[in-house]
Amino acid sequence: MKKKSGSCLLTAEVFFRKRDEMELVVQLIVYGVLMGLIFALIALGLSLIFGVMNIVNFAHGEFLMVGMYIAYLLSASLHLDPLFSLPIAGLAGYLLGVGSYRLLVHHILRGPMVAQLFGTFGLMLFLRYLAMYIFTPDVRSVKQGILVGKTLSMGWISVDASKVFSAGICILAFAAVYWMIYRTKLGRALRATSIDSEAAKYMGIDTKGMNAFAWGIGGATVALAGALLAHFYYVTPTVGMLFTLIAFATVALGGFGSIVGAFIAGIVIGLIMVVSGQLVSELKFSFIYIVYFLVVVFRPRGLFGW
């Protein structure tokens, strides 16, 4: 009898340890996927712009920062729920993208490759320090909103409600961009421009317009990601820097120009980040770049690149 209760205790202990481990694994997967979807949406625009024009937008993280400040400002000054700032940020991001193309990128395209690199690099510095001048380097955050600071509990898992909502919007945004590119005439023109810009021009496609459109969509998606991120992340002028590097790794991992690639790679990077954060937190960014490095060496076009 005594022996039996002992073994019961033992089984219970093993059961609870197993349950603890299972809880941990499930929680990590949930957190990893939720964060990964945001990474994916941030990387989408970068991948798209590169795919269409073969140009790397260094100011991409700053577009994200602009989206975050839009959400913050609308919330802090007009007491608007940050949910309402999503379409506004998206629209502003579109205009910012198109504007950057028309006023800057379009002109520097005539220059050598290096000029193109430094052009968007300059844009990055300009936007970052403009934000620093206007908003000071203070760390801020969106404090009010239907979803801000709310947690959703499902059994023993509890997650930030705004992260779940953001993940949903990310999936929708991906689906919309995918549909637009592969199911519409506009998308076909964009793809034609991306495959062979010269030939597309001869076929009567307004390739400059397509380029501007790619920049617009790129800006819109990343600013949208910014407005989502502002729900649960802090806002500061240098915040884009943190996410730009991850976006580069995501794009390289998924394949330059690949939409599906950016989606999958974002989730993979989110998962690597939480798992390595759990194992050896200190090295978590190293893990991401090791995976990135391996992909570049063994599959230079990325997982889904062409």
């Binding site: 620093m132 760390v139 801020r140 955050s141 600071g149 930030d160 802090y234 240098t238 954060g277 978590k284």
Partner: protein, 436 residues
């Protein structure tokens, strides 16, 4: 003969006047002190508050501020230098050790500063002070707390702030005090309620040193540690690290983080509905105005070690008067960082006054012999006097001490002092009530 003598004498007088006149006119001149701070990049918010603190102290030295109650407020410039004004020459370290050292060199060689002040980040202070040591120019460090800095045997480096070893000792005095029932208004807490500890520290020199000190004292004082790890600072996401803390089932969480990471940790812990009994931050991010401005009521119950609190005015009226002026100028209350840079300039002012010269050797002597009474300071310290308080320390202020504050009643609250117990301004909130 007499006339000849008179002629020689008057010649000598004129000559000496000519020689000393530049020095007399020096009375109206300025004394340049180079200040190296992180004024851009992620640490810029802290850098700005440090700059505000230093600037206010310089202003109080340079102009009369009647009714404050500390000697420098009655000065109009440095009395020992005939009223010469202090001019602070700020330089941005970008939080980068190599760039910071470059700035120290530039300030010494191009700006011809008589001394240096700074540089907040321990790693920057380390490299910048090497330049000062090489040039034989005094470097006063009011705000870096890595213990190693004062253990290098430098002759031109003086540290005003207590270092990490002190603060960590304060933490364990606090924990042992809770167990012994010394905290006012709180029953003795069984040790099992607070043990084991879980520690998260950023992977910088400062974070690593904090972690080592905590582990050392925990061993000495017999406190078990369930989980201790370093994480990459300026992280994009800290949910897995926060999960690691909750998984450790430790009731006491200890952090060494700067502002961005501190905010992310609190948000992640809230998201996970973590239920620690005690949260303690190792200063830095946990005492920045942005910390409570960003998190609002979510900071209630969180404790942090600090060196200053604006509620100190309850015990020190001078501190209250100076804080009022600071708040008018910067929009914030003093915090532990800005108040220490205020003291840094104060130390410089007293050293210059005592040395009566800007000669490096005279300044070195003045700093070595400096003895400022605790009454003059806006800190809960016994004073400033350089010596060797812990084994291996040189030119380290012996009379400093730390406090532990706890956020109470936010968004409209104050950081109340809960340690040292005899200086407590409010009853400790224990256990931590969790996040709503």
């Amino acid at each position: 003969m007499k006339i000849k003598k008179l002629g020689i004498l008057s010649f000598a007088v004129i000559l000496s006047l000519l020689i000393f006149l530049p020095n007399l006119s020096f009375a109206q001149k300025e004394v340049k002190i180079g200040v190296i701070l992180p004024l851009s990049g992620p640490l810029a918010p802290i850098g700005k508050s440090l700059k505000d603190g230093a600037e206010l102290a310089a202003d109080i030295v340079n102009k009369k501020y009647p009714g404050i109650g500390i000697p420098i407020a009655d000065w109009e410039g440095i009395p020992g230098l005939g009223g010469a004004k202090i001019k602070l020459v700020f330089s941005d370290s970008r939080g980068d050790p190599a760039w910071g050292a470059e700035q120290a060199k530039r300030l010494i060689e191009d700006e011809k500063v008589v001394g240096l002040l700074g540089a907040y980040n321990s790693a920057v202070t380390k490299t910048a002070s090497v330049e000062a040591e090489r040039a034989g120019i005094p470097f006063v460090n009011p705000d870096s707390t890595s213990p190693d800095l004062s253990k290098r045997g430098f002759k031109w480096f003086w540290r005003v702030t207590p270092h990490e070893t002190w603060f960590t000792r304060d933490l364990f005095d606090f924990l042992d005090g809770l167990v012994a029932g010394k905290a006012p208004g709180i029953k003795a807490v069984p040790k099992s309620e607070l043990e084991p500890l879980a520690v998260a520290a950023e992977n910088t020199e400062w974070g690593a040193a904090s972690l080592t000190e905590i582990e050392k004292f925990a061993k000495e004082r017999g406190w078990k540690i369930a989980e201790a790890f370093k994480y990459p600072h300026k992280a994009t996401d800290l949910t897995s690290e926060a999960r690691k803390l909750t998984a450790s089932k430790a009731p006491t969480y200890l952090f060494a983080s700067y502002i961005a990471d501190a905010v992310l940790f609190v948000k992640a812990m809230k998201e996970m509905k973590a239920t620690p009994r005690l949260i303690w931050g190792q200063n830095a991010g946990f005492i920045q105005p942005d910390f409570w401005k960003t998190l609002g009521a979510d900071v209630n119950g969180i404790a942090s070690r600090d060196v200053f609190s604006s509620v100190l005015g309850k015990v020190k009226p001078e501190a209250d008067r100076i804080n009022k002026i600071y708040k008018e100028r910067s929009g914030f209350d003093f915090d532990g960082s800005s108040a220490r840079d205020f003291i840094g300039v104060q130390v410089w002012a007293h050293a210059l006054d005592k040395a009566k010269s800007t000669d490096p050797k005279a300044l070195q002597k003045a700093l070595n012999e400096l003895n400022i009474s605790g009454k003059e300071l806006i800190m809960p310290w016994k004073g400033v006097k350089f010596g060797s308080p812990f084994p291996g320390d040189t030119n380290q202020n012996e009379l400093g001490s730390g406090i532990i504050i706890q956020y109470q009643g936010y968004p409209d609250g104050k950081p109340e002092i809960v340690f040292p117990f005899e200086m407590a301004t409010s009853k400790l909130i224990y256990p931590f009530a969790g996040w709503k």
